[in-house]
């Protein structure tokens, strides 16, 4: 199962990256392929390319601020959570997304 995600928070030096790390780790554990783009103080990193997005079955936004370049995700199934939730309960988030895709 292929999923893409964007993480972003107001200051962009901590939560953004913690959420990214957590989603990547949890995804691995659950046998999912997740690519996470971070939008932080250093700008956009690990940017999702059109191919990533096209192939993804779902998009996760784990954000506390609006996502930049959100037009890239038009027409995709988007699941939005807070950054905190992604850090504290990545497993729950991924289960919900899994459910959402199949349901």
């Amino acid at each position: 199962m292929k999923i893409v995600a964007v993480t972003a928070c107001p200051t962009g030096i901590a939560h953004t990256y913690m959420a990214a790390e957590q989603l990547e780790r949890q995804g691995k554990k659950m046998g999912m392929s997740i690519k996470v783009e971070t939008q932080g103080a250093m700008g956009i990193e690990n940017e999702l390319d059109p191919e990533d997005i096209r192939e993804a079955m779902a998009v996760i936004f784990a954000v506390g601020i609006p996502v930049q370049k959100s037009e890239r995700f038009q027409g995709k199934k988007i699941f939005e959570f807070s950054v905190q939730e992604a850090i504290k309960n990545a497993e729950g988030i991924l289960l919900k997304v899994k459910e959402g895709i199949s349901g």
């Binding site: 200051t11 700008g43 504290k88």
Partner: protein, 840 residues
């Protein structure tokens, strides 16, 4: 009659502010409205603030309101809605406004609902002590006693006299209210409402009738009673009303014939905090210095001599504290926070503890400042550069020397003329300059002659209105017309120079002829002095300000005429780039690092040196330590600045090598833009002053902090003591701002308070392990025992170091890494762990 009952909705109870809202609402009804607290059976008149407050109504007390009069049913229904809906909304709004207004008040003081008065910091430092009102407040007891000594008129006559006094006072206020400022208007409105307050009026009449007292005694008694009542409550608003009652009562007793005795000056017998509207330097000096713990002033200007003296003596001071002398009472215990510009009144346990730490921190910072101040003005490779202070008044010398200044690079004498109706005489100036020469104890002081005009109008010298004063009639250009101004000053300097090392410097020179004219006249004044037989120093060194480009490009012709140059960077930049420095639209042209400007300076300094003359810098930028490498590279012989910056500049200077700085400047002169040079300078710093993101002093493995507030304070203090942040108060505020968005507790017992703030010098990580877990005030409310703080400078998206923080953030997600941080046995071990995490 219509009535309704309800539970009182406000969490803080019925205090004065909601009482004023209720009164205002009820005034619109012509009949009677009674308010009754059914818990304590106290009854109040809903049209009287004072009466409402005395009902002692708390949150959720059962209350009953009775309305009697025309359309009573309709009004009762309206009033019920008011109590349940409108009142809570208005109160909430008022509370929020209060918090926003006092932005730099420490969080702990807001959390504890302390009374805080805000002003502007005027002299750094923090102190705690009791209030001493420089002008003592009225003593109601003695007025009441004085009133008793008077022969009482008949009961009716006393009552009539009182009511007449009320209506006269009302009329007077109504007549003057429209001319007042906004603050003044509000105060007078409040006075009017007290004059109409039934609780106040009926209490006075009661004392007259039942106790057979004179109206004066009755007013004094009522004033004292109501003041006491309001004083009990912890609210700034109530204190304001208390002061209003005092003002009104005074107006009334004066109308009734009581006269104030000649004011006696109170005596200061122990160390206390002086509170006053303003304070004349002579009054300030009349107190024993060791008895003045701090100053709280309402309207002293930042450049007033009293505040200059306070700074020189290290006495914490705050100015602009509205109504301080009305709101503070003698013997009130206060904390004067000259760092944030806040006065905390009668602080509770937690705030005292907070400030105890702040005071200790200030002492530590002072010691490290003194160490830096004692460094010599010299680069690491032994090149001497004189680090001097800019002063505007002789009183500032003392602080300059304490801060480590080696000379006074410019004494801006025109500051002596502000606000004075007439010019000082030669003798007056002599006295002043002599004092400066003597207090310098052998150090050099450059007296810059009057620079009037431009943005510096003064009352005693009438100058024509000009459309472009900065390019007009200013500096030495006015000396020929205002010859006596020029003559008396130069003569005074020549005479004072007998007592110390004084130098003389002329502002706004643009032509060689001007210098020759100045010199001819100085020579003439010397001849006069000689003829008059007055002692003077004929050898005073003379220099000119280098602030007009025509001088910078013509040094070889100016140099033979004078002894030294001093660059006035503010003016030189604005004339060089043709951009008014006060105009925000062209502010971007203020570019000290522009390569063309650097070339101008470099060629001027090189030429001056070739001709054996030295060049100083006395503009504002001299105090910016981040530019010190550039000034060293350009070859300046002296840097003169506000003495606050002296320790930091000395520290930076002592770590620089001349050759490195010269190389930097040579490269910078070849750049195309100032922006390139900003980056180049940043890299230069990075290479030489690059600090690790964490050090052992930024780790505390056994913190005793007991709350989130204490942890945030500990972080801020840690960073300032380590030199990572220049103003911990603003860092603390930035950290809280982030916490207010969403608390940074992320689970696993870990919190990562972080922020980006202008006062942060370099990206920094700090780690605190708590002995006792604290509540991080987050949604889930899990206690936290491990704190990793991150602070980065504002607007630093480009620096490579910034990438380290995300790397650490990612690492913190791994439980093995957190376990290592929790088990580490020493601070060094933590530093190593974090560094290796950043490297991986």
């Amino acid at each position: 009659m219509a009535e309704f009952s309800f539970e009182f909705p406000l969490p803080l109870g019925l205090h004065a502010r909601p009482a004023s809202f209720i009164q205002e609402k009820c005034q619109s009804f012509s009949g009677e409205i009674a308010f009754e607290n059914l818990r304590n059976n106290r009854k109040a008149d809903a049209k009287s603030i004072l009466s409402l407050i005395t009902s002692d109504t708390q949150h959720q007390d059962l209350c009953r309101v009775t309305v009697l009069g025309e359309k009573e049913k309709e009004f009762a229904a309206e009033l019920r809605q008011f109590f349940l809906n409108e009142l809570p909304v208005r109160e909430e709004k008022a509370l929020q406004e209060g918090v926003a207004a006092a932005a730099l008040v420490p969080r702990i003081a807001t959390e504890e609902n302390e009374i805080c008065l805000a002003g502007q910091p005027a002299s750094a430092g923090i102190t705690r002590g009791k209030v001493f009102l420089v002008k003592p407040r009225l003593d109601w007891d003695s007025i009441a006693t004085a009133g008793e000594g008077r022969k009482a008129l008949s009961l009716e006559k006393e009552k009539t006299a009182f009511l007449t006094a009320i209506s006269e006072l009302k009329r007077e206020i109504e007549q003057t209210i429209s001319d007042k400022s906004e603050i003044g208007k509000n105060i007078l409105k409040s006075h009017l409402s007290i004059l109409s307050d039934r609780a106040f009026v009926s209490r006075v009449l009661e004392v007259v009738e039942k106790e057979k007292k004179t109206a004066i005694t009755a007013v004094a008694r009522a004033a004292e009673e109501f003041s006491q009542m309001l004083f009990q409550a912890k609210s700034q608003y109530l204190r304001e009303r208390m002061a209003d009652i005092g003002d009104v009562a005074l107006g009334l007793v004066e109308k009734l014939g009581w006269k104030k005795a000649v004011e006696e000056k109170a005596e200061l017998k122990e160390p206390m905090v002086l509170v006053s509207e303003d304070l004349f330097p002579s009054d300030f000096l009349s107190f024993k210095p060791e008895f003045v713990l701090g100053l709280v002033l309402e309207k002293a200007g930042q450049t007033s001599h009293t505040l200059i003296m306070a700074r020189a003596r290290g006495i914490p001071a705050i100015t602009g504290v509205d109504e301080a002398s009305r709101l503070l009472r003698p013997e009130d215990e206060v904390i004067v926070d000259g760092v944030r510009g806040v006065v905390v009144v009668s602080p509770g346990e937690k705030v005292r503890k907070y400030y105890q730490k702040e005071i200790e921190t200030e002492q530590m910072l002072l010691r490290s400042r003194q160490q830096k101040a004692s460094l010599p003005g010299m680069t690491a490779d032994g090149k001497k550069i004189e680090i001097a202070a800019n002063i505007g008044h002789p009183e500032e010398l003392k602080k300059a020397w304490q801060d480590g200044a080696e000379a006074a690079g410019i004494f801006r004498t025109e500051l002596l003329l502000y606000g004075k109706p007439s010019l000082p005489t030669e003798e007056e100036q002599l006295k002043l300059y002599r004092r400066v020469a003597e207090e310098a104890e052998g150090r050099s002081v450059i007296i810059r002659t009057f620079d009037i005009g431009g943005d510096k109008p003064i009352p005693s010298v009438k100058l024509p209105q000009e459309s472009n004063p900065f390019l007009g009639y200013r500096g030495i250009r006015i000396y020929e017309e205002h010859f006596e101004l020029f003559r008396s000053q130069v003569r005074a300097i020549l005479r004072a120079a007998v007592f110390g090392q004084l130098r003389m410097m002329f502002p706004m020179v643009s032509l060689v002829e001007e210098v020759r004219w100045l010199k001819e006249n100085v020579a003439e004044f010397s001849r006069e002095l000689e003829a008059e037989g007055l002692p003077f120093n004929p050898e005073v060194e003379t220099g000119i300000m280098l602030e007009v480009p025509s001088v910078a490009l013509f040094i070889d012709k100016f140099a033979p005429e004078i002894d030294f140059f001093s660059v006035g960077s503010n003016d030189l930049i604005q004339y060089f780039f043709a951009a008014d420095r006060g105009n925000p639209r062209v502010k971007y042209l203020n570019q000290p690092l522009n390569p063309s400007f650097l070339r101008l300076l470099k060629s001027a300094i090189d030429r001056a040196h070739a001709m054996g003359k030295w060049v100083g810098l006395c503009g504002e930028i001299a105090g910016d330590a981040s530019l010190t490498p550039v000034f060293v590279g350009l070859g300046f012989d002296e840097l003169s600045m506000s003495s606050n910056f002296v320790p930091e500049v000395k520290l930076v200077l002592s770590s620089l090598k001349t050759t490195d700085c010269q190389k930097l400047v040579a490269e910078a002169m070849e750049s195309a833009t100032a922006e390139d040079n900003v980056q180049m300078l940043a890299n230069f710093y990075q290479e030489r002053f690059s600090e690790e993101v964490i050090s052992a002093n930024l780790v505390n493995l056994e913190s005793e902090s007991q709350s989130k507030a204490e942890v945030i304070q500990e972080l801020a203090i840690m960073l300032e003591l380590e030199g990572r942040v220049s103003a911990r108060a603003s860092l603390e505020q930035a950290l809280w701002k982030r916490e207010d968005d969403v608390a940074t507790e992320i689970g696993f017992g870990l919190a990562i308070p972080h922020c980006q703030a202008g006062s942060v010098r370099t990206p920094t990580i700090a780690l605190i392990r708590l002995k006792h877990p604290v509540d991080w005030q987050s949604k889930e409310g899990q206690p936290v025992d491990l704190i990793v703080g991150l602070a980065i400078p504002s607007g630093e998206k480009l620096r490579p170091k910034l990438q380290l923080l995300p790397r650490l953030s990612r690492k913190l997600i791994h439980e093995e890494f957190r376990a290592c941080l929790r088990q580490a046995k020493s601070r060094e071990e933590i530093v190593a762990l974090i560094k290796s995490a950043l490297a991986s």
